[in-house]
């Protein structure tokens, strides 16, 4: 299973810097919002937690369709399915690779971008913690969605449509935690729920993903 993880990471790095680009997209979404909303600091501070979370969600989303699509097209997925590697493990590794190339760099960079949106100083810690707890769930849910749409051409938009509603709880608790942090309230509840979602998705979704893949490979 480690072989699969390493291969995916290597492919991400080879194929034009997988790491840098998810990050770049995050950066750009955060940059675009002030152009749309206007430059007033007060407004930006107010919406910063929400925008940062929505942006990380979209950055994660954008690379989802690549998780299985290439492997499906070139036949790797069928070969993996007939290999000794359990598909559940493969699904888990795919989610992990996605998180390492998207969620992790995004989490690390988020404070710097909070800065561009004049995020309240108290909120930085909670931004970091909530993203660290929440982004793995985004990757795992996204992997499941990618498995659902893997056979379909132009699956990209359908994928978004399927996955975004599934992202809603993670988004709500994540943004809520940061907002509470910014307002000086106690965000522990939201963070705990966020952690529970991540734990739950990682416990259950690999099986759902593997089942979905088996169906799509028929």
């Amino acid at each position: 299973m480690i072989a699969l993880l390493l291969r995916d990471l290597r492919l991400a790095v080879r194929a034009g810097g997988g790491f840098g680009l998810g990050l770049a997209f995050f950066l750009i979404v955060v940059v675009l919002v002030p152009f749309g909303v206007g430059p007033e600091t007060a407004v930006l501070t107010r919406i910063a937690p929400g925008i940062l979370w929505v942006a990380s969600l979209l950055a994660a989303l954008l690379s989802l369709d690549r998780i299985f699509a290439l492997d499906f097209e070139d036949g790797s997925l069928a070969l993996l399915a007939t290999s000794p590697l359990p598909l559940e493990g493969a699904a888990l590794m795919k989610a992990l690779a996605h998180w390492i190339t998207t969620g992790l760099p995004l989490t690390i960079a988020a404070p710097a971008l909070g800065f561009l949106l004049s995020l309240a100083p108290e909120a930085y810690v909670y931004l970091l913690v909530s993203l660290l707890l929440g982004t793995p769930a985004l990757s795992m849910i996204g992997t499941f969605g990618a498995a659902l749409t893997v056979g379909l051409r132009r699956g990209g938009l359908l994928l978004s449509l399927l996955v975004l509603p599934l992202y809603v709880p993670t988004l709500i608790f994540g943004a809520e935690a940061v907002r509470r942090g910014a307002d000086g309230l106690d965000p522990t509840g939201a963070l705990l729920l966020l952690g529970a979602i991540t734990a739950g998705t990682f416990a259950l979704l690999p099986f759902a993903t593997a089942a979905t893949l088996r169906i799509n490979l028929r």
């Binding site: 034009g16 810097g17 840098g20 750009i28 002030p34 152009f35 430059p39």
Partner: protein, 244 residues
């Protein structure tokens, strides 16, 4: 036979004439920077409004200027590549991009550090700052495109097209951003109108620093271009060995 100017753009000749020139440019850059920065930091008075923070101008302004110059140089080099297909100009454009990116970052960072005492915030969506952020994104995209393409000639072609189209949009963005927000940022400090200039005591060392940064920019671009040429040479030799 009279030698054409373009001959200097032949990779081998380029390596030849830059080898002796490079240390000289580096030396001059070092001298100017040391003189300008020491003069600026230790031998100018504090500004009556901005206090000692004004001294960051000696890094900020030259870096900002070089960041813009680097893009202009990329544009010119790209045009030369498209028209005359001199490999050195394509590689020089690539070299200028990473130097320009660094200069943009220095300008952004020094500006941010300056912003805290001056405006009470590290970052504001001021038009000039914003333009720089966009410039930073352009650099990032340009470099990412270079990195993403395997074949160097294709990469040179595509990045040239991107650079030309990007330049138009960069200018457009500048106007758009001004339309969007009137800002806090200073006007030009170097202007033909003496009334607008900063005081002479700040001005002279600033000019020296700008000269130093300009030389440093040239030196770094030459150095990086040489590195790129060597890398291409190694690539070519490897390919030949593999085929032999």
């Amino acid at each position: 036979m009279r030698m054409s100017l373009w001959e200097y753009a032949n990779p081998k000749r380029f390596m030849g004439w830059t080898a002796p020139v490079l240390p000289v440019v580096f030396g001059l850059a070092g001298v100017c920077l040391v003189v300008g920065l020491v003069w600026g930091f230790f031998f100018t008075p504090d500004d009556y409004r901005q206090g000692s923070t004004v001294k960051i101008i000696y890094l900020h302004v030259p870096a900002a200027l070089m960041a813009i110059n680097a893009w202009i140089m990329m544009l010119v080099a790209s045009l030369i590549w498209i028209v005359r297909r001199h490999h050195v100009s394509a590689l020089a454009a690539k070299a200028a991009a990473s130097v320009g990116l660094t200069m943009t970052l220095i300008a952004l960072f020094t500006g941010a550090i300056w912003g805290q005492p001056m405006w009470g915030t590290y970052w504001a969506w001021d038009p000039r700052l914003t333009s720089f952020l966009i410039l930073f994104l352009f650099y990032l995209g340009y470099i990412a495109l270079w990195e993403a393409i395997e074949d160097p000639d294709t990469a040179a072609d595509l990045t040239s097209v991107l650079c030309m189209v990007g330049s138009i949009f960069a200018i457009l963005s500048r106007y758009a951003v001004l339309f969007w927000n009137q800002g806090l940022h200073q006007g030009a400090s170097l202007s033909l109108d003496p009334e607008e200039n900063v005081a002479d005591v700040f001005w002279l060392p600033l000019v020296v620093c700008i000269a130093g940064f300009a030389l440093l920019f040239i030196a770094l671009v030459l150095l990086r271009t040489r590195t790129e040429i060597r890398a291409r040479r190694i690539r070519a030799l490897e390919a030949r060995v593999r085929r032999a």
